[in-house]
Symmetry: C2
Subunit: 220 residues, 2 copies
């Protein structure tokens, strides 16, 4: 690790439940965020929280979010603190007793106060980060945003200072008595996200080849 | 649909952005929730929202959540309204322009005030719903919760009255000018969750067969 601060530097972002699943290395946070397609964003609407799925991108210790300038949820996000979480479910843990059923997962939870990006160059760079997060290698071969599209788009930046990561791996944590009794199958059923074969748009001109950034992902 | 109320019955749960993705049939809500492994739960901690991944189960128009009685987040959930969201990413939509990149997805967003379940029979039934949601068919062949385990467990019920569902399918919604210009590949890269081969627990007694509920899932 470099000079970057460790995770969970504040009491409220310190993992308090099942602490052995907590990670404090920023590389773990980066990996969880980079592997996600959507985050779940929690904003305060009126007096109560609402959780919304949204795409995002990470650059260093900043997460970028974007949306329409008409989106009330992003406006609400600017009025106070928000939270976002990215979770990957890697498997279902079958135990010998109901209460020890669990999941293998990697999850990140971030809290903080976002800021709106006003600078045109930084806005464009943030949108590039978001598109490249979702579709690595695609930005340079598609039409960039027009002035009109940029004007209709709001970009938010959230600092990753206050973040926590939890990772569970491995088999069930059954009670010794249940293991001794035996007779009940226990183990893990792995779960994985898999890309399928690219489906060209029906209005695509004939003969246009599927680009490498799409093909490589499918074949990875 | 039956006599169940339609979705989005209140102004604040009515979808306002990209309305053609909104669904109002409760069967869509049920399907999105039933297909999920974790939900993202938004609770108010202090003055700000925090989003946490957690498992859940649905029974009719109720979602059940559970956790340790020592979990501050569940206690916080009881102090006011919460929100939860379940999202499935079904594919990445590659467009001819950066701003039209999108995802195919199914998502549900629920808001409401949860109640703690005190009745022992209903608590046990709720735990069964949660375990059977994560691992269909497993409850009856594993050790049920002990009195001690039940005493250490908190169960919350959230009514599905106020919920919204959004579903996006299909190819990119490119601008006609970009389609006319041509030369840029556009289409969908499907994304799917796939179960892997069951991994028996290392401490499993030899000769114990993998049960049908686990095998069927892997083979589905």
């Amino acid at each position: 690790m470099s000079t970057r601060t460790p995770l969970s530097p504040t009491p409220r972002s310190t993992v308090t439940r099942i602490k052995d699943r907590a990670r404090t290395d920023r590389a773990d946070l980066d990996a969880v965020l980079d592997a996600g397609m959507v985050c779940h964003l929690g904003v305060l609407l009126g007096d109560s929280p609402v959780v919304l799925p949204t795409i995002y991108g990470r650059d260093g210790d900043t997460v970028y979010l974007h949306g329409s300038t008409g989106a009330g949820n992003l406006r609400a996000a600017l009025r106070g603190e928000i939270s976002l979480s990215v979770t990957h479910v890697d498997g279902l843990v079958y135990a010998r007793s109901a209460m020890h059923f669990s999941m293998n997962y990697r999850s990140a939870v971030v809290r903080g106060r976002p800021v709106e990006i006003a600078d045109p160059e930084e806005r464009l760079r943030a949108l590039r980060v978001i598109v490249e997060h979702a579709a690595p290698g695609a930005w340079d071969r598609v039409r960039p945003p027009s002035k009109k599209e940029m004007a209709a788009t709001m970009v938010l930046a959230l600092d990753l200072t206050e973040a926590s990561v939890k990772i569970r791996t491995g088999g069930p944590g059954d009670d010794p008595a249940d293991i001794a009794t035996g007779g009940v199958w226990a183990g893990v059923l792995p779960l994985q996200q898999v890309w399928g074969e690219p489906i060209p748009s029906p209005d695509l001109e004939p003969g246009l080849e599927t680009p490498g950034d799409v093909l490589n992902r499918f074949r990875a």
